[in-house]
């Protein structure tokens, strides 16, 4: 008893220190993620205070801007509908297949999530140019990839892997016993609509919400097809007026839509059952779906195969000889080095921020809803607005070294992607049996031992997976980097994006291939880590 009395204050003391440390890191997270937006809000208030009331009109689009806003919404809704339907059909198809070819295709599609949409745009343009030549040779009418139709096709194909991934996550998290119970009662075809889809729906809806956000806030694909979208208007407003507050007010209607969509979709994710626990060996499950259903799902899988294989083939063919590729790499050496360095730093710095905040998401108290909002709302902020906010925050004489250096793209990446790492760590935390952590707390001699020996190893799949996601997203980040990159320092994506406007070339294809190969390697790593994580937690 005496020993326990001596021991307990030690634990409480170390826990207090740990909580203080975590609290400090959470404040840093909030500053990094919300700082750029909050300064814009303050700027607007300040400007209104000095009589710029006419600026308020920017928040209520009329005439051309209203039409542009409506067109952008229509575009995002169409992309979301198309990509979600294809991803859903393909997800169900791949889920019910065991062949190695299908598994490879599914893996390839999933790692394609990391390939930026403008790389897809480039490859599809090249593919359609090639088709046009072939069609002309046979005197057939050419199919042009241009205008809104072209942008819609490319954006949809680029986002199909996201819908596929969320569908697979949705069906994989269904309790296998629920499926067995359904199979005993009704034919497999009926179970798809009555049991499988309703149970997978929360994550499918969340995926659709995410696709909608990405489509609405991305301007790269639309602008490559000479279309203006509302997200580009924000960037244009900042470029012409150099007034951050005006850009923020212009972005308000877009923010209203994206934040609303995010709140609805994150609610479904919070409710989704995330317990892929199966103590029995894997069943010999293979659903006997009718031929019409298999054909329908097969169409979704075929579209997914096209979405992945066409860009891959075009890049491999256009990159030219290995010598030409080597020349491209040498010419872009500094951009490649800079991109990889900042991506790595973003991934590494995100980890402590995510670990400190993830626990708040899984706690079952009143604050956890607030934390869900705090962590997910940044995802709804257009990249260019984050960049504009960062410029306004750091472009001051006192912070000259920050503003003029490599730290700006890192801060941009952290503001955009630290929330994703937090969600990945929180998902892992939710999968851990809480009794394992309770047991560790009972036997802990000090807080650091508890963290290093128990909590971190259990969290590792989420940490590694989340950091991998942040690294991959940072490799392809363009919207915010374009605004904040200091003179003389350019990322790989900036170089590609600038080249793209001068027409596709070998060097663009070569650079895209570098991003693609990095994405494939990194994406494979993330998938392996997540799968290992599942196994580790199951064993636990």
């Amino acid at each position: 008893m005496r020993a326990i009395n001596q021991f307990y204050p030690k634990i409480l003391n170390s826990r207090f220190k740990g909580e203080t440390c975590a609290g400090f890191i959470r404040i840093v997270f909030l500053f990094v993620v919300f700082g750029p937006i909050l300064v814009l809000v303050f700027n607007v208030i300040q400007k209104l205070g000095t009589g710029h009331w006419d600026w308020l009109a920017l928040a209520f689009p009329t005439g051309r801007r209203l039409a542009l806003f409506a067109r952008s919404l229509g575009f995002a809704i169409s992309v979301t509908a198309g990509a979600t339907i294809i991803g859903l059909l393909a997800g169900l198809y791949f889920w019910n297949q065991s062949g190695k070819g299908n598994k490879f295709l599914c893996w390839l599609a999933l790692v394609f999530i990391a390939v930026p949409p403008y790389v897809h745009a480039l490859t599809w343009m090249s593919a359609f140019n090639g088709l046009e030549i072939i069609f002309r040779r046979f005197n057939l009418p050419a199919i042009a990839l241009e205008g809104w139709g072209g942008a819609l096709w490319v954006q949809m194909m680029a986002l199909v892997p996201v819908a596929l991934g969320m569908t697979l996550l949705g069906v994989e998290t269904i309790d296998p016993d629920h499926l067995d119970a359904a199979r005993l009662a009704r034919p497999d075809s009926a179970n798809v609509l009555k049991v499988i889809l309703p149970l997978a729906l929360p994550l499918v809806i969340a995926g659709a919400g995410f696709i909608f956000l990405l489509s609405l806030t991305d301007y790269s694909v639309a602008s490559l097809f000479q279309n203006n979208v509302y997200a580009l208007e924000i960037f244009a407003e900042f470029s012409s007026s150099a007034e951050s507050g005006r850009a923020f007010l212009l972005a308000l209607p877009l923010l209203l839509v994206t934040v609303s969509v995010l709140i609805v979709s994150q609610k479904t994710v919070r409710k989704a059952a995330m317990k892929p626990v199966r103590t029995l060996p894997s069943p010999d499950r293979h659903f006997a779906w009718p031929s019409w259903m298999r054909a329908l799902l097969g169409i979704g899988a075929a579209f997914t195969a096209i979405a992945v294989l066409v860009p891959l083939a075009v890049l491999l063919l256009s990159a030219g000889s290995p010598k030409a590729l080597a020349r491209t790499v040498t010419a872009a050496q500094s951009e490649i080095g800079f991109t990889f360095a900042i991506s790595l730093l973003i991934a590494l710095i995100s980890i402590p921020l995510a670990v400190a905040c993830a626990g708040r998401l899984v706690r079952s108290n009143r604050n956890h809803r607030l934390w869900w909002l705090l962590v997910t709302i940044p995802i709804a902020v257009p990249a260019s607005l984050t960049g504009i906010g960062l410029v306004f925050l750091w472009n001051r004489p006192l912070f000259g070294t920050v503003y003029g250096g490599a730290l700006m793209p890192i801060l941009a990446g952290l503001a955009r992607f630290a929330p994703f790492v937090t969600l990945a760590v929180a998902a892992q935390l939710r999968r851990i049996n809480p009794l394992l952590l309770d047991a560790a707390r009972v036997y802990q001699t000090n807080l650091w031992r508890y963290w290093l020996k128990i909590r971190l190893p259990l969290l590792l799949p989420g940490i590694a997976g989340g950091a991998g996601i942040a690294f991959l997203l940072s490799l392809g980040e363009l919207g915010a980097t374009l605004v904040v990159a200091p003179p003389g320092l350019a990322t790989l994506t900036m170089r590609i994006y600038n080249y793209l406007h001068y027409g596709a070339s070998d060097s663009v294809a070569g650079l895209c291939l570098i991003i693609l190969v990095s994405a494939l390697a990194g994406g494979t790593g993330v998938l392996i880590v997540f799968r290992r994580g599942f196994r580790l937690v199951r064993k636990g």
């Binding site: 629920h178 119970a181 199979r183 049991v195 149970l199």
Partner: protein, 219 residues
Amino acid sequence: MIEVKNLTKAYAGKTVLERLDLELGNSEAAVILGPSGSGKTTLLRLLAGLDVPDSGEIRMDGELVSRPGYVLEPHKRQIGFVFQTSNLWPHMTVRRNISFGLGSIRQAEVRGRLNEVLKEASIEDLAERYPDEISGGEASRTAIARALAPNPKYLFLDEPLIHLDPELKLKIMAYILESWKRTRASMIYVTHDRDEATEIPGYTFYLRSGRLERMDSAP
């Protein structure tokens, strides 16, 4: 009638059931006893058509329903299955959980049968509630009612009382026996609890090293 011959099943190289034989007549009951991991659940899953045997065959009323490479779909076997956990579909109310297996009959008949089953299980008041709004005992009753609703010819119960407290166990066991007597389905009851096994009036088998050993017989 259920006939199982030479049934073998292995998972990841480990043989769980080895050349197992079993015969159970119409309306008869059998209890299968065995420690955790002895293959009891695997046997029920094979009987239900949820897994494919590596060798051997299963016949129901003389019809071949399972052999390597062929499995008659589970919903065509006229089976009622009660899992270890109540396993109710979380997005459906109690009423919809129970009526799900009655899909092939007319709507008026579904309503009649549903009311009958709800009454027998004493869960009429819970019909519109969702699984997360009912207690463990109520969920067990619902799961058994769901298994019995389509009037199955075969009733398989996989340790249905394992997560219940002693008082509730007695009540649910009484409901199971009463339901079995009423339906006269052939019943296989799997458990690791000898006291529970003595409650079931039928054959008792012990599953050891992947094979069944008969312990005693029914009158």
